[in-house]
Symmetry: C2
Subunit: 427 residues, 2 copies
């Protein structure tokens, strides 16, 4: 019953490195997606800008388009005076150029008229009805003038053509997770369809003779499947497609057949359960039997999650997630998210973390990474991470958690009040 | 053109407080959702557990179910010996009870047999073929024995009935954002349908004579709508339903009519654009004209985003988001996310933040909250927030950002290397 297990326990980083060194995912398939549905998807190829953005020089303030040289030397004591000779209409090209000694009213977003090279904010001008007092400036049509009490630099308050985006420039790289600002950027360039990576298909198997579907009323000794639904939700939250493949009994042949079938049509297979030592070995054996190279990592120095199995069969990753629901979700957080990200060819991003003070002392064995379920609480102006007590078999402890406080390998324990890094659960 | 504006500039906190004091959202509507689609939704009412979880005492390890008293005093020098009289089958109730001096093999997840009150991990036992050496213990059927070298406490490695969830207990509160662990918990209780809040409908209006739909080829002086698509994506990312209501020209009557129509069928109206001073005033006037109480906040001491308008018309919040695309998304981040959360009656959660060192000195006016677009970079073992330079009119600067570094009101500037809080963009 004990069997040979954990022949080679690895650290979390070693396990990632070992798996990453052997597994080389192919380029993901892409599909065309309308921009309105592209938020939350991963970009499948670089996007090159088809044009300059903006196409024309634009003002970023309300004010007067001027020739900067006309304002040089302007001061409180010696203001510059300009004749206002017109206004730039929104949405059209300016009607006339700005000559020496002239100014044209321009709204935010308006196109800079020819001749002008700067915009003076309206707040920095004084309107003079009846035109400028000085003789030198202004055309015959000037009915108003403005007084300017400080010089404008060439280019001031102006966005140059192509300053936002230059034509032909790769504005977004393949692998970008498309946030609202990226959608806006693409819209601004007139790109209303994008190549997005096809969400990877993730097959999910639950195992255990005692496990029944949540729809069923368990008989004495049976329990409802928690891991299957939880993993489906976790997979979907990562932008992948969950394919639940059912509950498999604790027999090697059944497990092998189900794993083979699951792998047929999936980019990744997750097998949860096998918390009993015997079943854990069956999962490893099944992975080895499905195809080479088979099991790459069996046993990681982490708590919870030590019996995790990372395997690869003919290019398809297969992960064995040990049985308790909380453990399954920690293993998902630590290993599976990254695998899904690589399947999407998603560019790496830092996991959101917060620094918080640990609200009670915890012990931890050296040489092992501990993931503590914690609740985050603001107290006395500081953020505290409150460890949630309870056996790792209790899903309720995970349900209360805001994230996982990480106790690194080299650390033997953390005193109350010490600062820890908490990996926050994604929203 | 300058008009009366910013009569009462408020701090970010004051603006939130003022708006929050006047607006009392009603209870959100709920709808029944299958558990398989409940991930990412917000729970509409408390969930009471219909039963104890687990229903029977269960082992959390592979080992031997025993009477704890039989192990008291066991030590390396004086082990306890027990007869192994059977094994607990998975998925069924145990076949027989554990008597004094007896042990029964139990797999992880197995139901504890009557008589037993603890489980000794298999790793802490020694199997003795042929039964226990001592005379006192064991039934006639014992073919094997075990040696135990340390005492087990009553309840050790056992989850009591109801220890995870007690029947009738509120396991999840209304307002919970449903993560994978919550889905698993509900599945474990056999709850396969939940009451979720109906995603709020958010109407989105873009304004500006120069703005055309992204599908169109802009003529000279025109620009494509960036804010509309970006806000739609931002709204959907918050779990709400975006309803784009089109691009409205810069005329008060058109704006009023469009705002009225948008409000008819929405829980929240967002009006972007109006970066020019004149149009900003039009947005305020329209909000006041649609219905009381009208504009509550006009002008906030923040950068970017100073001209933001927060209004309320007959219970429907209406937000005016000033024109530049980056500004629009900052205002969304600071004010609109919270309003959507309240519409969903979503329980408050801390915004994910990271602490990082600012990679260059920045100045900031006292009395104003600055939101700097920053890129996060790991360098020399520390996390650095690199401010992205460029005018706030450039959407490309926002597209590069991982989050917003907050320079609080009371701070006048931040030196290079000082630690700042970065609000990380949601995934």
């Amino acid at each position: 019953m004990t069997a040979q297990q954990f022949l080679h326990i690895r650290s979390v980083d070693d396990a990632r490195a070992r798996f990453g060194a052997v597994w080389a995912p192919g380029a993901p398939r892409t599909e065309v997606v309308a921009l309105a549905h592209a938020g939350g998807r991963v970009l499948g190829r670089d996007v090159l800008s088809p044009e300059d953005l903006p196409p024309h020089p634009r003002s970023v303030v309300d004010g007067y388009a001027v020739r900067a040289t006309d304002t040089f030397g302007a001061s409180e004591g010696l203001p510059a005076y300009l004749a206002v000779v017109g206004e730039v209409p929104m949405g059209r090209l300016p009607g006339r150029a700005v000559g020496p000694g002239e100014a044209v009213w321009i709204p935010t977003g308006g196109v800079l008229p020819p001749g002008a090279d700067a915009v003076v904010m309206v707040e920095h001008t004084e309107l003079l009805p009846g035109g400028p007092p000085a003789a030198g400036a202004g055309g015959a049509s000037a009915v108003e003038g403005i007084e300017i009490r400080r010089p404008a630099a060439p280019g001031e308050n102006v966005i140059r053509p192509g300053e936002d985006i230059r034509r032909g420039h790769a504005v977004l790289r393949a692998g970008t997770f498309l946030r609202p600002q990226h959608v806006g950027l693409l819209a601004g360039l007139g790109i209303t369809r994008v190549d997005a990576t096809v969400p990877p298909r993730v097959a999910i198997l639950s195992t255990g003779d005692e496990v029944v579907s949540p729809e069923r009323n368990p008989e004495a000794g049976q329990v409802r499947d928690i891991n299957g639904p939880a993993l489906c939700a976790a997979v979907e939250a990562e932008g992948a497609q969950a394919v639940f493949c059912g509950i498999v009994p604790d027999r090697f042949e059944a497990l092998l057949e189900a794993t083979r079938a699951a792998r047929e049509n999936a980019d990744l297979v997750l097998i949860s359960g096998g918390s009993s030592v015997g079943l854990r070995d069956e999962v490893s054996r099944a992975i080895d039997a499905v195809g080479p190279p088979g099991v790459l990592v069996h046993g990681v120095a982490m708590k919870p999650g030590k019996p995790v199995v990372l395997g690869l069969c003919g290019g398809t990753p297969i992960v064995g997630l040990p049985g308790h629901p909380t453990t399954v979700l920690v293993v998902f957080h630590v290993f599976v998210r990254e695998i899904i990200g690589r399947l999407q060819a998603r560019a790496g991003e830092p996991t959101p973390v917060v620094q918080a003070r640990l609200a009670r002392r915890v012990a931890s064995a050296a040489g092992r990474t501990d993931y503590l379920r914690v609740r985050l609480e603001h107290r006395d102006g500081a953020l505290w991470a409150v460890p949630i007590l309870g056996k790792s078999g209790l899903i309720s402890t995970m349900a209360e958690a805001d994230g996982l406080a990480v106790v690194p390998e080299a650390v033997e324990g953390i005193e109350m009040g010490d600062v820890v890094t908490v990996e926050v659960f994604a929203r």
